[in-house]
């Protein structure tokens, strides 16, 4: 689909929304809520444009190129009576095809009953870690150029389509955020979400809790759990080099259990995030169990307009996991970077990444990124 076609479809789809003055006016005769007022719409966009220099001896191909990142269109609307709608649509550019892909990453409607109870239904970012629920796809928000390795849709179930109950409970000493969700879960293909059809009718359960103690302002500690049955993938028959059929390792379902936690600290110019997720796969075909571990720690310090930062990423795959076939090369990565806030709503980032891989040669990468919001 071309960019033009995507934009036309987007405009037509949201042309039905009325951009009105909102249901409250600061003029005269104010009422708290006008049942006949039009819904208000907020439209924001986030984007990034990159320059990449990459040296990857494993594939004997060096990169030296400008690269469009993504355009993230964010819309939300107040529908009145504590009901709101939110949507996040991205136009991404695939690195190996030079083509544009449009994805509705989030689309949900939410009803707020109180601070403690909010009910949301639709497509949302799964509650599987700090990064996914904080930064979503807004590269301008995050300090670094890209996401941590474990926070990749190839590793974790990024998105869910389902129902979430969430809220905040406050005491004199802390704030506690929670979310309980039931959703379609993953689709059969790694990286995909069951947006319309749940291939195995088994629902995914997702729980999340985070605590912010008053005793340590800026600190947040969170935990998540995700339970799902990944559908079997029987789309393609498997053959060996001689053309003989071979057993499909994905012919059965995979029971998935993800548990993880994080610590995040943002205070007095200091940024510190440490996050870990363990993904356990119980494979129906082989009868074996596989444990994959992903971890990162990121630190930064704001110095006026500049923020130097460092991140350490690690992925440790349990070899033989049929769900991660083709990507299960363990690695550790060091990223050093500098973020420069060139204005209130734009930033330049300069980042060097060194990936040490177990089975392949190491990779060096330099990225300069312009990230912005408007």
């Amino acid at each position: 689909m071309s960019i033009r076609q995507s934009l036309i479809r987007l405009l037509l789809a949201f042309g039905l929304l009325f951009v009105g003055p909102g249901y409250l006016s600061a003029q005269e005769g104010l009422v708290e809520e006008d049942a006949f007022a039009m819904p208000s719409l907020t439209l924001k966009a986030f984007g990034d444009i990159n320059y990449v220099i990459e040296s990857d001896d494993a594939i004997d191909d060096d990169a030296n190129e400008f690269a469009l990142g993504s355009l993230d269109v964010f819309l939300n609307g107040d529908l009145g009576n504590n009901v709101s709608v939110l949507s996040e649509i991205t136009f991404d550019f695939e690195s190996d095809q030079n083509e544009n892909e449009v994805t509705v990453h989030r689309l949900y409607v939410q009803k707020e009953f109180s601070d403690l109870f909010k009910l949301m239904v639709g497509r949302y970012h799964a509650w599987v870690g700090y990064w996914n629920i904080t930064y979503h796809h807004g590269t301008w928000f995050q300090t670094t150029v890209g996401r941590p390795a474990v926070q990749s849709r190839d590793i974790l179930p990024f998105h869910s389509v389902g129902l979430t109950l969430s809220g905040t409970y406050s005491t004199d000493d802390l704030d506690l955020d929670y979310a309980l969700a039931i959703a379609n879960g993953r689709d059969e293909k790694r990286g995909d979400t069951a947006n319309v059809e749940d291939k195995n009718d088994n629902k995914a359960f997702n729980g999340y809790i985070a605590v912010s103690p008053d005793a340590v302002p800026g600190l947040e500690i969170g935990f998540h759990i995700y339970i799902d049955d990944i559908p079997a993938d029987r789309r393609e028959a498997m053959f060996d080099e001689a053309g003989s059929p071979v057993p499909n390792p994905r012919a059965g379902e995979i029971k998935e259990l993800i548990i993880g936690g994080y610590i995040a600290y943002f205070r007095n110019n200091v940024e510190l995030i440490a996050e870990l997720s363990q993904i356990t796969h119980d494979d129906e075909v082989s009868g074996e169990e596989f444990d994959t571990l992903g971890f990162y720690i990121q630190a930064g310090y704001q110095l006026g307009e500049f923020k130097p930062y460092y991140r350490f990423d690690a992925l440790d795959f349990d070899k033989g996991d049929p769900f991660y076939t083709g990507i299960d090369d363990d690695f550790e990565e060091h990223s050093f970077g500098l973020r420069w806030d060139t204005s209130a709503w734009s930033a330049l980032k300069f980042e060097y990444q060194r990936r040490d891989r177990d089975e392949k040669k190491d990779r060096d990468k330099f990225v300069a990124q312009a990230a912005f919001t408007f």
Binding site: L30, N76, D78, S114, A344
Partner: protein
């Protein structure tokens, strides 16, 4: 040795003068105002912070609060940027944008350009909450206590110093 002692004495006098000057700086109390029909009378500073940061968005009666802000540059806003939000204007805008992006709020709080405009709005919207210079408060709105102290009390926590950045 004598020179060092003299220098220390001069520095002490200068520092004392600074403290005295600071203590004598004109100070204003920032009143947190709500609609007169709002039952709330007192908030802890912690709870007030939660409301002003929209970490808490509902009054005890279940009504959603309607937070209104002062425009950039006002003394009252500077005071709260320092005491409540711990950031500057640009940082606060990023804070609101982040909350909106995460789906925690639907829109950025409305901004008014004067204490009178805020008073008028709060007086007419039952669930509204705002902040003004306590000297501008009148009977059209209700100023709530913070940690049991009213604007004007010696231990009232929300103080703005004239000329403070």
């Amino acid at each position: 040795m004598k020179k060092s002692l003299l220098l220390c004495i001069l520095l002490a006098i200068w520092a004392g003068g600074l403290h005295s000057a600071r203590a004598d700086e004109p100070k204003s109390h920032i009143a947190i105002i709500v609609n007169k029909n709002n039952e709330i009378k007192n908030l802890s500073l912690k709870d007030l912070t939660r409301y002003l940061k929209l970490d808490k968005q509902h009054w005890k009666n279940g009504k959603k609060i309607y937070l209104v802000m002062q425009q950039s540059g006002s003394m009252e806003k500077k005071a709260l940027l320092n005491m409540i939000y711990h950031t500057d204007d640009a940082g606060l805008k990023r804070y609101w944008l982040g909350k909106m992006f995460r789906g925690e709020i639907v829109s950025i709080p409305k901004t008014f350009n004067s204490n009178d405009a805020i008073k008028k709005f709060v007086s007419q919207v039952p669930s509204a909450i705002g902040f003004i210079n306590a000297s501008d408060q009148d009977d059209s709105v209700k100023a709530i206590q913070i940690d049991g102290y009213s604007p004007g009390d010696q231990n009232y926590p929300l103080i703005a110093r004239a000329g403070a950045e």
